[in-house]
Every structure is written in structure tokens, then in C-alpha cells.
Amino acid sequence: MLVVALVLAGSIWVRLAYWQVIEHSQLAGQAQAQYREVVQLPATRGVILDRNLTQLVVNTTVYSAFVSPDQITAAQRDQVAGGLASVLGVDKGSVMTTLASGAKFAYIARRFSQDKADKLRALQLPGVGLEDDTQRAYLPGAGPGTTLAANLLGFVNYNGDGQYGLEAQYQNVLAGTPGYISSYRDLANREIVLGSHSQQDPVNGSDLVLSLDANIQYAAEQALADGVKKDKAESGSVLIMDPSTGGIVAWADYPSYNANDFNQTDPSLFLDNVASSVYEPGSVMKVVTLAGAINSGAITPNTVINDPGYLSVGGYRIYDWDRRNHGNINYTYVLEHSLNVGAMKAMQAEGHAAFYSYLQGFGLTKPSGIDVAAEDAVAPPPASQMADSQYATSSFGQGIDVNMVQMLAAVNVIANGGKYAPPHVVERVGTQINPLLLQPQRQVISAAAASQMTAMMEAVVQHGSGFTSIVKGFALDQTAKTGTSQIPVNGQYTQDVWASFVGFLPAQHPRFTMLVVIRKPHAAGSDRDWTLNDGYITAGPIWQKIAQAMVVDWRITPDPS
């Protein structure tokens, strides 16, 4: 009898030991999960401001309506469905179906505005709840259905993750660190205040202050949209830089999109053509080629060469755009009339090695490192692997791929007295100044060479193809260079072109450097004469319009002559 009792007691003890010792941690975890809840305290995402501290994006609260059908009686269903349909504009029939399902939880409408939420609250419908969430709201842009600087800023998806542009690049900085409250909760999910309680406060995200100017951005978007439509182009982009700092003042793309409605947008529009796509810069590259040759002492603006209209290099005969014999000309004339032969001869005069080192110095052999997500860049082959013909075509901007940021930063070296200003968009993160701004700038060419190049670029406006960009009062005080390069398809150049226009103003004390690129323009009459798509005809007027707005907005006056 005693043995039986001991066996029974022993089996009970063994079982108890099993639950209390071996299974202890698992059961304790299950129990914790039932009565302890960790509520996340979201961090407020940092806002983005322009250089004048205009807020470019605002955090707003949106609401989602949900129902608990199991808490709504059959008699109440019609009233609830009617109320939801009248306020939220949802289909009453589908709401009735949801309510009849008897489920515990179902969303009725997601992410609607405060006024609808207020109306719904006032109805006090049984079994209906509201859930609030944060959403980024961006300023309206120039075009209908667009937001300002959408391609630069990117957007934030419903999970709070930055997508594209600055929102993606600075996700960690903007998002901050969420906190939490860990506490006991009752059946109604109310906190039991006398239970144990631990809390970690959230750390809000930092604000970004950009070098962007919202007014100039708007003017750029407007002029670009008008220009692209007028020229029946596929797309276009504008990039404006502060010459002394490298800060981006405007970053416009057309077509663009509405970042407030990103889930209804064609994803191909999210890609930005300024930094995320490369193009052949065409004659704009002559600025880099001639500046390097002048700095190395191989040429001067007045060096005379003979231009018969073509040059044979590496077994290829390469022509000027007009295929004309220009006779004896100097390098100022070469730039004014954008002659390929002159650019090739300048490159040859300084030599391949020097030319390549200037490509490196001007930042065209590696990504610019701009602080925007998804920069794309195609490095040229190593100097030793480049053929003679590739050196020749690179000197006038064909056979070499760059993105707009790289190209503008390179031309900006001339505006900045020969120094390379690293391109950037963010000037401050919270109260911290962007370290790029505190670093010394790299001297690429001498100030004297930059000054000579500036004079040559002024001549382009006064005597060459840059006349379409003349801003009233600045005819003698602005610089320009046009560029038109054919677009290769499957290794063959087509009649479609990238048309571009670059320049800075005022010439001697530049306040901005601007690059306009138009892709595949089809200007009136260009089906008969494709040169009507040239940069000075398509991109130049857009440059002029934006520069005019900047002159007024920034109160720029010409230097006394």
C-alpha cells in the first residue's frame, strides 16, 4: 500500500517537476505574452527644410477605420454600414458583408484625413474604431499632380521607410529611434498601472536643412515643364549649384510625380534622371578639355590652329558638327562655334595622360558622391586601355558617360576659381553642419586658367551659340556652353539627341551654375533638319527663363563694366 502511494506521489512529483522546472521558461513566456504587452512609441520623423527654412515636407496624421463585426449585433449593422458609407464614401453593401462575417477585426478604409475622422467620431458607431498613423505631406509642385522636388526628396512608404532620394539616403537620420512601453494590460487592453512597467522614450529624427531654394526649384520645374512640352521631348532635367559651396539650389525632373500619392504612381517615374542616369555630355565637355589644356600650358585662348573640318584619329575620320573648313582659328573661336577638331587638337597638344588626369581632377571618372540615393556613374576605361579614337571622341563629349551632377560639378570648377566644390544637397543635419562644407576644396586648375576659360565662355554668349540664354542686363556678364550629343542604340548613333546647356552668372562673381539637359527633343521642323534639336535651341531658352527668375529672386545685378 505504501509502495503504491509512494509511486503515485512520485509520479505526481515528477510531473510537477517537469512543468515547473523543465518547461518553466516556455510557460513563463506564454504567460508573459498574455498579460504583458510592449507598445511601441513611434519617433517623430525629422522634417526637411530649404535654405530659407521653408518646410518642404510636413508630418500629418491620417486615420484608418476598422470594425469588430463580432461586437455588432444584427440590428445595428444597417446603422453602422450606413454611417461608414456616408462619411468614408465606401460601398454600403460591402460593409454589410464584412459586418455579417462575424470576424473579430476588419479594415473599412485606410489613411483618410482628419475631418473624416472627426465626422466618424461624432457618429459614435458601435464596434467601429479609428487607428491613427503618420504620413508625410509634400508641397505642391509646378505641374498639375506633382509635388515640389519629388525626384530629389523621394517619399516615405506606409511602413515608414524612405524610398528614393533624400528620404532613402537619410532614412536613419530622419527616422530617429522608436521607444517602447512594456506593461501589464487587462482584457480591454488598458494598462494595469500597479503592475511592473518599463519605458524607453523615443528619440525623434533630425531635421535636414538643404541648400535647395524652394522658389528657384519651383521656377525651374515650371520652365522645364514648359520647355519639354514645347520641344516635344521625352524628358528633361535641371540642376543648379551654388558655385562656391557645391550646394544644390534646384533639382528638377520632368515628368515628375505626386509624392503624396505614390501608391497610385507609375514606379518608372520615381527614378530621377539627374543622378541616376548617365548620358553623353557632348560639347559641354569641351569646357573641361580646353580648361585642362590651358592649365597645362599646351594651349592659350589665342593659340591658332588649322581646322579643315575633320581630323583622322585611330583610323577614323571625325568631323566638326557643320563639316566645314574653318581655316586658321584660335581656341576662343573653337569654343564659340563648338568645333570638335579644335577640342581633339587641344587634347592631343596636352597628351593622353594629362587629358585623363584632368578627367580625374574634374571628377568625371568616379561617382560625384552626392548625398542622394542611387547615384549612377560609368567610369571610363583605365587610361592605358583607352583607344586613340576614344580619347578623341571623349574630348568633345562623345563615348564618355557622365551623370548631370558630375558634369555640373566639373563645369563649376571654372566658376569657382579652379577649385572643385563637392556637390551636396544637405547643408545641416539637425544642428550639425555637413562635414563636406568644412573640408578644403581641391584645386583642379589655377585661378588664372579658370579666368581665361571664363572669358572664353563669355565669348560663347556674345559671339557663339549661347545667345539664346542672354538674360536682360547680363549679355556681357554671363557664360555658357551648349552641348548636343547623339544617343547610341545598340552601338549605333541615332538621330535622337541629348541637348544640354550649361553656364554661370554673373561671369566674374558667379552666384549660380546651371545645367539643363533635354532628352530626345523633337522641336518644330526637326524632322527635316535635326540640328533644330540642338542644345542652344531647346535647352538654352529654358536656362534663360530660370536664370531670369533667379536674377529677380536673388536680386543679382551685373558686375559694373
Binding site: T54, Q55, V58, N59, T60, T61, S113, Q114, A117, D132, A137, L139, P140, G141, A142, L148, R190, E191, V193, L194, A214, N215, Q217, Y218, A219, K472, G473, Q548, A549, V551, V552, T557, P558, D559, P560, S561
Partner: protein, 201 residues
């Protein structure tokens, strides 16, 4: 007489030793120290280390005093303890109810706060949008305003001052000497510090 006095003293001592032991010990130590000072012994000689005794708390002292007066039995002690526990329990419940009520009020206020923040966000968006370039241009156009591009600029005049020239020594003080002397005297008497600083090299 003398015996009764002694008897009384011993009773008092016994009571004191039972209830105010620390008082007695302290008094004894003070007396001992006084004796040492009077007898001219070295004042820095410390007393031998004594074992610290647990001090009796107010509750124990009051409890034992009440028990003595009420002449409580064992059951009396139990009832008293139970009563105290019940009172403490009720006090705890009242406190818990109050805290729970407060926590619900806090939750309600947090709800209100989040709604007010939402309204604030909405107002901020309206404000920012009202100042957005698109809105400004739209309203300007509605008002019939348009941006005018300046056609000409006033030609710049050459500057009379050479801004590039190195900065030389500042111009000398042309104040007459007698005026400086008067100022120095007046300032010294009047004590005008900043004027003195300006006139003193």
C-alpha cells in the same frame, strides 16, 4: 527615607533600562566623558567599542505600551493585528482605485493630446502650403500680379575708396588737449567707467 529613595531610584532605573536603554547609555557615556575631563585624563581616549543594539520603533513601543494598558490576551493581539491588516488592505484598495482612475484619465488625456497634435499637424500643413511657391504664384495670378524682369540696370560707378588697399593706422584723436583734461577730471570724479575707458590709452 534613604531606603525608600533608593528603592524609587532603582525602580526608575529599571523602567528606563527597559524602555529608554539608548538614552541611559548615552547619558552614561556623557557622564563618563565629563568625569574624564574633570580628572584631567587625556580627552582623546576613546571609550571601548560597544555592540550596537537594535532601536525599537515607534510601533513596537506604542504597541507594547497599549498592550500593557489594555491588558490584551493572545486573542486580543490577533484581533488587533487582523484589524490593522484590514485597515491597511482597505487603504491599499482605495489608493489602487484612485491610481487606476487617474491612469484612465491620463489615457483619455493622451487621446485628446494625440487628436490635438493631429489638428496641429493639419494646421501646419495648411500654413506651409499657403506659403508654398505654387500657392503664392496662384494667388498672385488671381490678383493680377506678374513678375517683372528688369530691362536695364543702373551702370555701376567706380568707387572712390580703394577697398583693396591695406588697412592703415586709424586716424589720430583730434580732441583738443584741454577737453581731454577736463573730461578726465570729470570722469574721475563722476566715475563714468566707459567714458574713462574710451579716453584712456
Amino acid at each position: 527615607m534613604g531606603r525608600s529613595t533608593n528603592h524609587k531610584r532603582s525602580n526608575v532605573t529599571a523602567q528606563v533600562s527597559a524602555t529608554h536603554e539608548e538614552y541611559v547609555l548615552t547619558s552614561t557615556r556623557i557622564l563618563a566623558r565629563r568625569r574624564l575631563i574633570v580628572s584631567g585624563s587625556a580627552p582623546h581616549v576613546s571609550a571601548p567599542t560597544r555592540r550596537r543594539r537594535r532601536t525599537r520603533g515607534f510601533v513596537q513601543v506604542a504597541g507594547s505600551a497599549a498592550a500593557r494598558r489594555l491588558r490584551l490576551t493572545g486573542f486580543g493581539h490577533a484581533y488587533l493585528g487582523l484589524g490593522a491588516v484590514v485597515i491597511i488592505g482597505l487603504f491599499y484598495l482605495a489608493l489602487a482605485a484612485q491610481i487606476t482612475q487617474s491612469s484612465y484619465q491620463i489615457a483619455q488625456l493622451q487621446d485628446q493630446q494625440s487628436q490635438l497634435i493631429a489638428v496641429q499637424d493639419q494646421l501646419r500643413y495648411q500654413e506651409v502650403t499657403a506659403h508654398a511657391p505654387a500657392q503664392v504664384q496662384h494667388q498672385a495670378a488671381q490678383s493680377g500680379l506678374q513678375r517683372v524682369a528688369p530691362a536695364t540696370y543702373v551702370p555701376g560707378q567706380p568707387l572712390a575708396i580703394d577697398l583693396g588697399a591695406p588697412v592703415g593706422a586709424s586716424a589720430g584723436d583730434t580732441t583738443p588737449l584741454w577737453m581731454k583734461a577736463v573730461a578726465a577730471v570729470v570722469n574721475t570724479l563722476g566715475g563714468t567707467r566707459d567714458v574713462m575707458a574710451a579716453t584712456t590709452k
